[in-house]
Point group: C2
Chain length 378, copies 2
């Protein structure tokens, strides 16, 4: 190998927690107070793409994030980078050890608008760590990579795996592992509804700290509620029991936001549109006389809805009719669903007026795979 | 006494809980899961007025509520009435025993719009029980009367007393008792902000039942949080420590709404205007570099704000500037405050736009007395 420059380009998925992570027991190491479970979404529409280049000719590390020259996000980026290098430096391959001393140039971008409030840090750090691992030939160190991604952004440790993923708060090292592969539940669909008029709110690092310090309910959640829910959710996923899966997902999302409200001063991440979506889902399930749709909300007003393929035309038609104001092929992105006449359902639902236009657009996804190398020669 | 007709007219105040009542251990008896503490508001602007008339000539009980012939609110009204009669029948005064057999005609009205979502059942049942007690000369049975009002509407047991009142969940009988008289803290003021565009939500009886059945956090609140808060709140009141009083009031309001959100399906009582009021209060306290204002919300979007007299002109001016759209002497009712120029404060607060008109009007009260007889001869 004479040409002393190496480059790799990879993409990584976002993941949506169905049992929420909120609160750390160790801020510096990013150790969560409780286990969480997430679903990895396919990368057809949303992903982070990262190119990492290393060369002994480079005189300094550099990073370009979403077309802006950056400082590499400060401490967390540096933590990630130096930990990957440490792992490379301890390799038994001389070439990996050598490369660990070279400077690196990172170019990373999200193909979804970060301003829409879709968490980009999970896919971002997962992609960074995965891409560097390709360069240093560390792919086999899956556990270590999950732990390294965690140091960048807690939930990034889950985005290193496809399918259904559990992040253990007390494993050594603290890592995520798959519960089931993406192919396990092929009928499952996910709608990511991007809500209009989101206002800036308290960031999740600061929010978690404030909850851990002031909520009188968080400790009870962590110690007495989540443990059972994790086991129940795991069973629901393994059994593909949609009703059980949906109920726990909704209950845990609501409890996370309840903890935010019990924080002092309180944290509001959901807005009136989020409330309207929750109420629509419960009313829809009521008229369907079964739990057909579930919602979950992270630290922002956007809704993530889960349902099975058989329900998607009917529900998407109702959802679009109530919240959409653009043509349906602009409103839906990704796997645009066929729509049916929603008149009867909407009449039974009697949604509040003035909801039209409250959802900007909705991305339709399947459960997806973990990060992958997209080098032409890769 | 030959003229065999007796009549009495009384008024009763509303009360605002600062440690919330949510959830019953006995639905039929209306025994709460935890103690609560409330403040009785003066009756200058808001009260229930009830006239009760008894006569051996009447052939049946009758009730007119807010100018509508009613069934007497069914079971609860009948419970109250028959319990008061039982108490009268056990009197050692022959005249009281005789009167307990006569039929009664009740005319009751609230002088505040019940549709505004201001709880009318507490003042209503307190007034009913108090007025009947006047007729039957049972005024000295204060404890029994509190317990009887409770059978009509739980929090009515607190409206039988002025000032600062604690409702005990485990006393025998289950009653409220004053912590301090209204005169104890003469500087305390209360703003009741009636929010526009309130939508119908789940009633509190049904809501409490649902929370008790489904919230995984309510039991922890009841057993481990409220007990300390009750003692801390009592001390804050006795010491007139406004900062402590305000912090606990806000934290307990938020925790009550957190429990509502942890209920399945979730209960939403606050709306986006309520959120905006909460955020304004926290920002106002921040620029004042001290806790000068507290908020609390019951099972609806209306805000109740507490502050001391010295702060009222400044805060009311800011509040009106942000949320008001009618002339200030229409916006404020009751003890209309003098306003000052809020420009500088509002500039520091940078409130969200589009809040003007979100509060319909605001009633300004003092801490007040319990029910009273207003018979001309009374």
């Amino acid at each position: 190998m004479d040409c002393k420059i190496r480059s790799s380009t990879c993409i990584a998925p976002i993941n949506i927690a169905v049992i929420k992570y909120w609160g750390k027991s160790d801020e510096e190491q990013i150790i969560p107070l409780n286990d969480s479970i997430s679903i990895t979404l396919d990368t057809d529409y949303m992903f982070t793409k990262t190119t990492a280049t290393i060369s002994p000719e480079f005189t300094q590390d550099s990073i370009v994030l979403n077309n802006e020259q950056g400082s590499g996000d400060g401490v967390r980026f540096q933590n990630c980078l130096s930990e990957v290098r440490k792992l490379a430096a301890s390799s038994k391959h001389a070439s990996t050890v050598e490369k660990s001393t070279w400077k690196v140039a990172i170019v990373s971008e999200n193909n979804f608008p970060t301003k829409a409030g879709l968490a980009s840090s999970a896919s971002g750090y997962a992609c960074l760590v995965f891409t560097l691992a390709q360069l240093y030939e560390l792919e086999s160190h899956q556990s270590e990579l999950s732990a390294l991604a965690r140091r960048g952004s807690g939930s990034a440790c889950r985005s290193l795996f496809g399918g259904f993923v559990r992040w253990f708060h007390d494993s050594q090292p603290c890592i995520a592992r798959p519960i089931a592969e993406a192919e396990h539940w092929p009928e499952l669909r996910c709608l990511v509804a991007v809500v209009s008029n989101t206002s800036k709110s308290v960031g999740s690092t600061e929010g978690m700290r404030r909850s851990a310090e002031t909520s009188k309910l968080l400790e009870h959640r962590v110690k007495h509620v989540v443990r059972d829910r994790i086991e129940d959710m795991k069973m629901a996923i393994l059994e593909k029991n949609f009703v059980k899966f949906a109920e726990i997902t909704m209950q845990d999302s609501n409890q996370f936001h309840a903890i935010c409200l019990d924080t002092y001063p309180p944290l509001f991440y959901m807005n009136s549109t989020s409330q309207a979506i929750i109420q629509l889902v419960h009313r829809y399930n009521q008229i369907r006389q079964s739990v057909k749709v579930a919602y979950t909300f992270d630290a922002g007003p956007n809704a993530v809805l889960f349902l099975e393929q058989g329900e998607i035309s009917r529900f998407a038609s109702v959802f679009y009719s109530v919240f959409g104001s653009t043509p349906h092929d602009k409103f839906f992105r990704g796997k645009v669903p066929d729509l049916v006449d929603p008149t009867e359902d909407v009449a039974s639902l009697v949604p509040e007026k003035a909801l039209k236009g409250q959802v900007q657009y909705t991305i339709v996804c399947n459960v997806g795979q973990g990060p992958k190398n997209i080098d032409p020669t890769g």
